[in-house]
Symmetry: C2
Subunit: 75 residues, 2 copies
């Protein structure tokens, strides 16, 4: 999996696990809803500053957003 | 720790563990040596695309570069 795909997958999965809409997460992270949407569609390569803001909005570690789901699945 | 500090710390620590100079890592990752140096000095917020290239150059997972060292230390 490409890094943008991994990030988009984890972002969406963790957001849904936390029961947050894109709009609610955007508000928590101080970002625009359209930007969250773009990241989930792999349009941009987020900076680590953005990854950190989103991680804080989701109450997870930044590293959790870049962890390869395939690696987890094969454990 | 701020995310840039975490990334810079892990980048430098993993690079040294692998016995690579900034120049050697830059070559492996297809980046400029001065850019690696800037990241270790927390000048820029790297994009996840850059984090991924560096991770591949270091033969680690991208997530390893954003993992908080304090959290590891208290385990």
């Amino acid at each position: 999996m490409e890094i943008r795909e991994i990030f988009a997958h984890n972002l969406r999965a963790l957001r849904k696990t936390k029961g947050l809409s894109q709009e609610e997460l955007a508000h928590e992270a101080g970002l625009d809803r359209t930007y969250i949407s773009s990241l989930e569609r792999q349009i941009y390569g987020a900076s680590i500053d953005v990854v950190d803001r989103i991680a804080k909005g989701l109450a997870v570690e930044a590293a959790d957003l870049l962890r390869c789901p395939e690696a987890e699945a094969t454990k």
